[in-house]
Amino acid sequence: MNAEEPQIDTSPRVSDEVRRTTCYMCACRCGINVHLKSGKVSYIEGNRDHPVNRGVLCAKGAAGIMQVTAPSRLRAPLKRVGPRGSGAFEEITWDEALELAVSWLKPLREAAPEKLAFFTGRDQSQSFTSFWAQGFGTPNYAAHGGFCSVNMAAAGIYTMGGAFWEFGQPDWDRAKLFLLFGVAEDHDSNPIKIGIGKLKARGARVIGINPVRTGYNGVADDWYGITPGTDGLLILALVHELLKAGKVDLDYLARWTNAPCLVGDDGLLLRDAEGRLLVVDRVTGKPAPFDRKGVRPDLGARHAGARTVFQHLAERYLDPGYAAEAVAERTGISASRIKGLAAELAAAFDAPVVIEQPWTDFRGERHATMTGRPIAMHAMRGISAHSNGFQTARALHLLQILLGSVETPGGFRFKPPYPKPFDAHPVPHAVCEAGKPLGGPHLGFVHGPEHLALKSDGSPARIDKAFSWENPLSAHGLMHMLIPNAHAGDPYRIDTMLLYMANMAWNSSMNTAAVMEMLTDRDEAGEYKIPRIIYSDAYASEMVAYSDLVLPDTTYLERHDCISLLDRPICEADAAADAIRWPVIPPDREVRGFQSVLIDLANRLRLPGFVDAEGRAKYRDYADYMVTHERRPGVGPLMGWRGNGAQMGRGAVNPDQMQRYIENGGFCTVHVPADAAFFKPWNAGYQDWAVSLGFYDKPQPYLFSLWSEPLQRFRRAAEGHGELQPPEHLRAGLIGAMDPLPVWHPPFGAAAGADYPVHALTQRPMAMYHSWGSQNAWLRQIHGHNPLYLPTALWERHGFEEGDWARVTSPSGEITVPVAHMAGLNDHTIWTWNAIGKRRGAWALDPEAPEATKGFLLNHLIDELLPDRGDGIRRPNADPVTGQAAWFDLRVRIEKVAPRDASLPTFPVLHSPVPPARRNRP
């Protein structure tokens, strides 16, 4: 060594202390090690022991420290003093704030609980917030799923008892072929990245189907730059080609799906006297209940004039209308490419993976091995956020199931507590009575028209019109319809809107400018049409400015949270897992964890479930609730260390439970036994394990629904059968949409016609979470503004050059924005990053911040209602099955304009509720 070389300390102590908790910058919920120096957060890294992220963190997670120190953090409860939308507030005490809230809420509960609408964004405590709303008695509760990805969730659960979206994952360790449809980032952020890394390291093939070739699609070994909204066509063409070639797993279909079930004249499946689905046994040639011991269902049977689902299905998809040649033009993918993809699927299909692991199925049959097809798929909002998304997602599940690659090695795997068939979920409850709690959970899975949330006059019972004829299977509610409906007083007027972490006055609404007007619109008497808005946010978001009372939340390192099996846990296919957050640092401002605030409000309002018979509070705060609440006897928010501390899943309340979680790094895992790892819906070993953990109370094996009876029941109603009948104007649409077999319809956006020839999309940037990343000093340098990317064809046709600007017009709006060129892009598609654009004055940023000047939202171009088709009715811009907002149906036209300093539209600068930020850091 050179004598002059400076000596450096290569072993500095990293910190004084490490506290392990859970990240919050997205719904992935990775484990983090928070390092503290002198009581301050100094460094955040991934927790290696954590089942979700195994030590890695994404860009947001590693920048969490900038979230916790952001100058945009709210500091105290705020009461509006200026006109709504101005951003003028005064800080008040918590007692004043809570008393004010109670003075608004109490009379509502006593007279008309439906006048409170409580909607939450992507929070992670829905089982708790919905419990609160049930106690309050309002039917108007939902989280954000309706504008997010309910198509994906509902299609999965109705078809196979679980979905891609948070309910399952590819078998990253065994898949040889992986198809990714319409994903830029997803909720399962780090697991997908870890998984893609594993596939790449093993040399497995990754195929991206996406109009845009960035991120995951950039590393994909092959890319299909599909025209938006046409995945259903592509998938059903693959189904056609595979069927034609006989590359479908007949054994799988016969054993585990309703393919061998018999379709009656009414389109419903034949059942025996006890209501069990009937199949024809190949051994006896006689009908038998599907789950009888030893039964060998016959896919080709006929019985009493009824044919099997399989026959119906073959007839439908073997039709030349589904051939590759027939769909090529509409999908933008040549017939030879489609056939090539089918051939790749077939090749992987012919190379099964076998695990030497015996197991027993629900019919009592013992299997020596677990054998599967190494074809994994994953899809998200590229499919989900179209008005044909529900059926497209069903088509994708059909493809997976035909290949025999769901819940088999190498394919797609459920994460406990899934699988769980739709009929094991609750049905919606919407009947409310003054002063009484609601009869059950708000959200659920309807089986047919009898479960719709309608009043006796047939009008929607819910403010968002969820579970109405417009969108019968709206399993997650319709948050995006809340403000428009409340403003219009349709189906009725409400009084108070309680919102929790949803930036509805900006990036989370369609038609943002109109929504801001609705929030500030007044009636003849000069009162706001939406009289009261209470909002909980942690930061100075755009929505804060539109609230009357702001209840400031803590940041994620300053509070308790519960990531529960009752809700959306952090499970992986091989383990049930749940997690907590706990205050690793104390808040330094007058802020409180919102869940604890809800408990305080519940106690003041004496809500059932929160107070005992004498009206005494049952829970001190959220931490107390997490440990002592029991949903069913022995089953509470947290599964770990119950009872005597050794019981997992079920067990009495254990006062030490929180401490045990903290000691274990903030999470608890229980591994799936090896003989229960696959075939979960039909695996006796899995079913017993699930019961032991309390996922359900008795085994519930079921068949995958290739043929969907709930859909058929709505179709029958629309055809005029039964007492519950849809309004006339929806009949034809329902008959088309409620097809019991997956089907493709052009997305409604296509109706915009030739004047709007271009598809316009957004993508999630991996390094930003919706609106909140921009307050992060590190992340905002990575994504401080967002160009509109144009494909080469459009770039050249319009003569664009670097630095140019364009006017983009849709049937409902217009924006003027900077453009950039991208070659790896579908010829008819333009796109930009989601939610980078910011309103001037929000988020404690300089009003001249690039987010506010050059950044922009596509939301100004999207309307929550479709244009009138000439019948005087404006239908929702949504999937007709689930009501999912069709963000990606958007059609536009584009013109070159002179370069500008700022994008359009612009809005007045918001008055900031927090003091200006310090200029430099540190």
Partner: protein, 244 residues
């Protein structure tokens, strides 16, 4: 200390797999986070919440598009940090000796206590691996996390650079490129790892693994079971169920 030491046997560095990097920027903020709190001055952010923020980062991830002869354009994400060159020009230009290459393992570092912030080393680096911190006035660069990789207060498995530890796809590999038998050297050999701007004669230690060839797989066409036009769905059902 500005003279380069004789070439070390141990050459620690990174191997970055461009076939796997999805451009998530995790390594960018993980690097910022680690080096913001570690030895030396924090990595400042000027005008952090203002109209033109400008901060110091030791690792940045670019996105490029390439147009292969056949097939659609391809996107490649390209992380860029110090390559710990064997023939480091940033070291020899330094007037103060602040910039040095470790004789022991080849890591190129800046001794901030001696740095006058003249910027010359940044000029000398072809790869943009050095950034002068506007608040501290000293030169900042990737340290290969020298305060992690030998850190005895960390568990063994954590003695890797922060960016490597965090990379969700495993696109970043750390090891001894001087040892032909090391995992990283083998990876470089197998995958055709290469140098950036070899013409600059800097002899980078870090290597990049090229994206793999993309496009359709060589799968034969699917033969139909029966002639559907001739035998119809019934004929097809016969065939498929007969074989089952």
């Amino acid at each position: 200390m500005t003279a380069l030491p004789p070439p070390s046997a141990r050459k620690l560095g990174l191997v970055i797999d461009l076939d796997t990097c999805v451009g998530c920027q995790a390594c960018v903020t993980a690097c910022k986070g680690w080096n913001d709190q570690g030895a030396g001055a924090p990595l400042s952010d000027m005008n952090a919440y203002g109209s033109e923020p400008c901060g110091t980062f030791l690792n940045r991830v670019h996105s490029y598009e390439t147009q292969p002869v056949e097939g659609p354009a391809e996107v490649v994400n390209f992380p860029r940090s110090c390559l710990h060159c064997e023939n480091a020009p940033c070291v020899t230009v330094c007037p103060t000796g602040a910039s040095f290459k470790r004789a022991e393992d080849g890591i190129v570092l800046v001794n901030e206590d001696a740095c006058i912030g003249c910027g010359l080393c940044a000029w000398a680096c072809p790869y943009g691996a050095r950034e002068l911190d506007a608040a501290a006035g000293v030169m900042k660069k990737c340290t290969l996390c020298v305060d992690r990789i030998y850190n005895e207060t960390l568990p063994e498995e954590d003695r890797v650079p922060a960016c490597v530890r965090t990379c969700p796809t495993g696109a970043r590999h750390f090891g001894d490129l001087g040892d032909p038998e090391s995992a990283v050297s083998r990876l470089v050999a197998e995958r055709g790892g290469y140098d950036l701007m070899p013409g600059m004669e800097t002899k980078p230690v870090n290597k990049y693994l090229p994206p793999r060839r993309k496009g359709a797989a060589a799968a034969g066409p699917l033969d139909p079971l029966v002639d559907l036009e001739a035998r119809g769905v019934a004929g097809w059902l016969d065939r498929i169920l007969g074989a089952f």
